[in-house]
């Protein structure tokens, strides 16, 4: 700077102007610092925009880059407290760990996913999860606002502090991991995450579809139909999202090649608001309205964020999110009021508007920005139209998957779930019905019932005076899932250990299923299962009668949803859960809704076809059928559906 020519008085800074400039700079920096502080809670501050590590010290997440000159990569998923991974001096870190452990030598334990750590008073459940290296979803930096970190406290609830205001919407053993603080030592606490990985069929042989999506590229621009969305960034992706009451399936599809890039399934995080649709509707009508919407949106964003990081995909390249789901799940996802779906005539506001002519279609459209979804800001979020009342877009997607639009002979689609939906017919004539079966076969209401997760008995045979069970996963059986119950009931009937009315031999109160584990089936359980089965029975029987076909005349019966993929068809027919269609004409289509959603995402033709088709579906209200009650009573009996006597 010595060679600088002398700055004359032309270059003079007046104090006032300088102070004004500093104030502006101060404002910019303050904004930066505040955001940095906020962000540091979720993302390692040393991680740059390319997910490379800029730290000068060692870190467990640091990986040497493949190119010598590059910074090392960071492999953290931004979910755990990254600070525990930092190591400046190996000796120091160990010494500190030792100190922490010895201080709490007298303390109890915290358990999750079979891992144990020492309980520390004053720390949150989230802190313990970090220590256990259990990934709890969050997006608010653990301040209680995103409600993603809901956990179920299995044991030791009393050792935790009182619920904070942020948790007011939760009941029972549900808590927010970031808010639940351990207050008492020498206790045992056990908790579960909501997002247990359910056993569900997600990948099925996907039929080739002509690739003609709404999202397409022209030159260096991306269009949705004729509407410009963005400049082309290198890829066009879409997300097919099947929001089930119990399980959500998300598929990332390459809209240029038609290839499925990735499939992810997770438990619907709305479980804290009840396990079935009606309970969710009443939860959303209460003082915590909007919580269910927030929960699913935040979880969606977490899953997309993780998926994008894992695959190296940019979220800005996601241009359409196509949402299928039953009427309630779809509308909750879009943040709409669902109260009217909970009472007669069980119609959503969208459907009512459509019937009054206010809306052209029952389909929904919103922008990703509006719904705050992780995608391109201009991405289109499409809600697939519904058929009527509870029969929603998931069934529409199912009809796409079984190619109903080109059927010329009657086929029947049975989508089994807490709400079973049945569609019967062919391209020219279609009928649909919804049967509120309840959660008995999905793990609810029955003492040893559980969803199809690890530890569930999934098939049962009666041999030599005892039940032989097959369990999902490698562990010991903990309960029974839907397919297990259907087998169990059928075997009880075949061995004459139970009457069709569900009375056990010698009027026993219960039967032992897995004696060593104390798993039993009681009269009460059988009664719950009978009612759930009756709902499934009525849907199929009433539709067949109304349509005027017998089971023999049904060319194909498609089974989709939930546990039905693992069901032994002969057992289901034996107890009258399914219509007696010959087994070689029964096709399990896995998750038909997710498959149909993918096809609709890829093909404008499919969308147009199905929109036209569903406008002609006749929606049958089972309850208004004259002899519904007699049918229901008949359906409660565990015996094959006798169509002659019913018609």
């Amino acid at each position: 700077m010595s060679d600088r020519k002398v700055t004359g008085d032309r270059n003079f800074i007046d104090r006032e102007g300088y102070e004004k400039s500093l104030r502006r700079l101060g404002e910019i920096f303050q904004g930066i610092t505040r955001h940095a502080k906020e962000q540091a809670l979720q993302r390692c501050p040393y991680k740059d925009r390319h997910d490379c590590c800029t730290a000068k010290f060692a870190c467990a997440y640091k990986r040497v880059a493949s190119v010598a000159a590059d910074l090392p990569n960071c492999v953290s998923d931004d979910q755990l407290d990254y600070r525990t991974a930092w190591e400046t001096d190996e000796g120091d870190v160990q010494a500190m760990k030792g100190k922490l452990l010895s201080a709490s030598a007298q303390a109890g334990n915290v358990e999750c996913n079979g891992r144990l750590c020492v309980l520390r008073v004053g720390k949150t459940i989230f802190d313990h999860a970090d220590e256990l290296r259990v990934k709890v979803p969050t997006s608010c930096g653990r301040v209680g606002t995103c409600h993603e970190c809901i956990v179920q406290i299995r044991k030791g609830d009393e050792a935790l502090g009182a619920r904070s205001d942020a948790e007011a919407f939760l009941q029972g053993g549900y808590r927010l991991a970031c808010q639940a603080v351990v207050e008492q030592g020498s206790q045992e606490i056990a908790f579960d995450l909501l997002r247990r990985e359910p056993k569900i069929l997600v990948s099925q042989q996907s039929r080739a579809v002509e690739v003609d999506p709404m999202v397409h590229r022209q030159g260096d621009k991306v269009y949705y139909g004729s509407e410009e969305l963005d400049r082309y960034r290198g890829h066009l992706y879409g997300v097919a999202l099947d929001v089930g009451t119990t399980t959500v399936v998300l598929e990332l599809v390459d809209l240029e090649t038609g290839q499925s890039v990735h499939v992810e399934s997770f438990e619907n995080p709305q479980r804290f608001g009840g396990s079935d649709i009606m309970t969710r509707i009443s939860y959303d009508g209460g003082e915590h309205k909007g919580e269910l919407h927030t929960a699913i949106v935040n979880t969606f964003n977490t899953v997309v964020r993780e998926m994008c990081a894992e695959l190296g995909v940019s979220r800005h390249e996601i241009y359409e999110i196509l949402v299928v789901g039953n009427t309630t799940m779809r509308d909750l996802f879009f943040g709409l009021d669902v109260q009217s779906i909970g009472q007669k005539p069980y119609r959503s506001h969208v459907e009512e508007d459509h019937l009054r002519g206010v809306r052209k279609s029952t389909g929904l459209r919103e922008s990703a920005r509006q719904l705050k979804l992780m995608a391109n800001r201009n991405a289109v979020v499409c809600g697939v139209p519904l058929i009527g009342s509870h029969v929603g877009g998931d069934i529409v997607a199912g009809l796409v998957a079984i190619d109903m639009a080109s059927r010329r002979e009657p086929v029947m689609l049975v989508d089994v779930g807490t709400n079973t939906e049945v569609v019967l017919g062919y391209a020219g004539r279609l009928m649909a019905a919804s049967c509120p079966a309840g959660p008995a076969f999905e793990g609810g209401l029955v003492r040893f019932g559980m969803p199809g997760c690890a530890g569930a008995v999934e098939s049962v045979r009666y041999r030599d005076g005892k039940f032989c069970c097959e369990t999902i996963g490698e562990g010991e059986p903990e309960g029974i899932c839907g397919s297990g119950f259907i087998d169990l009931l059928a075997e009880l009937r075949r061995a004459n250990l139970m009457t069709p009315k569900g009375v056990f031999l010698n009027k026993a109160v219960e039967v032992q299923v897995v004696q060593e584990r104390g798993i039993t089936l009681s009269r009460q359980d059988v009664s719950e299962l009978a009612q759930a089965k009756a709902a499934n029975f009525c849907g199929q029987a009433i539709l067949m009668r109304k349509f005027g076909v017998s089971p023999d005349e049904i060319s194909q019966m498609f089974l989709s949803g939930g546990f039905v993929n693992y069901v032994e068809v002969s057992s289901a027919v034996e107890i009258g859960f399914l219509a007696p269609v010959n087994e070689d004409r029964v096709i399990k289509v896995g998750n038909a809704a997710a498959q149909g959603a993918r096809e609709m995402l890829l093909s404008r033709k499919k969308r147009a076809e199905i929109t036209e088709l569903i406008s002609r579906v006749e929606h049958v209200e089972l309850e208004t059928t004259e002899d519904f009650f007699e049918m229901f009573v008949e359906g409660c009996q565990f015996k094959p559906m006798n169509c002659q006597s019913l018609w």
């Binding site: 270059n11 007046d14 102007g17 101060g26 920096f29 955001h35 400046t88």
Partner: protein, 252 residues
Amino acid sequence: MAELADLKNKFLREELGEYVEEDAERQRMVDLYAETKLSMQNIAAAIIDGRHHDVDRLTREAIDDDVQALEVMDDGLIAGMALVGIKFRDNFIFVPEVLACARAMKAGMAHIEPILSASGIDPIGTVIMGTVKGDLHDIGKNLCIMMLRGSGFKVVDLGVDTSPDDFLEAVEEHGASLVGMSALLTTTMPNMGRTIEAFIDADLRDDVKVMVGGAPVTLEFADDMGADAYGADAVECVEIAKRLTEESASAH
């Protein structure tokens, strides 16, 4: 109202098109840059891109061409940081990139400082900043330094793993009245106390005010080891630095 196309600097046009998503905000930024000279737009672009050598060169050239120093600050350096702030807020860049931009800004300010002192404007005070011995974490400290510089302080950055002797030497060399120390590990935190003890041993403790910070540090801990102040974040750090400077000025 100016149009994006009015901006002569191509990089700025691209950056605004790509990263400023809200229309009104983009218009504000376009208007801000459109009023400035191309040479100032070039400085802003170099700041945004974190190219500190370029900022150094471009600022020197501008000053040599008799561009008013305040114009260089406002239209070049600060205008660049404004977009950096927006990109950071919207998660297009992260802390390491922001710090690279702040470093570029410092390279530019180095040419403004002589003019400031020639104009009779002195720094509010001089602060010695460092991360204590054994601690290699620098993000929090660097954010504090950025804030302090942006508020008119002269900051001497001793970097990471700074020994008590390094702190002592720097205070004497620069005649600083303020020392800031940070630690991020519970294990290195006690080294703050050791540094303060070293100041007492060297009979310098009364000449400086000591402020401390970092994730594991608490107000209680700061009091225990005899620090003058504790700051929870970089914003607080500036407030404290200003208060301590006033205190020591009125004491002398």
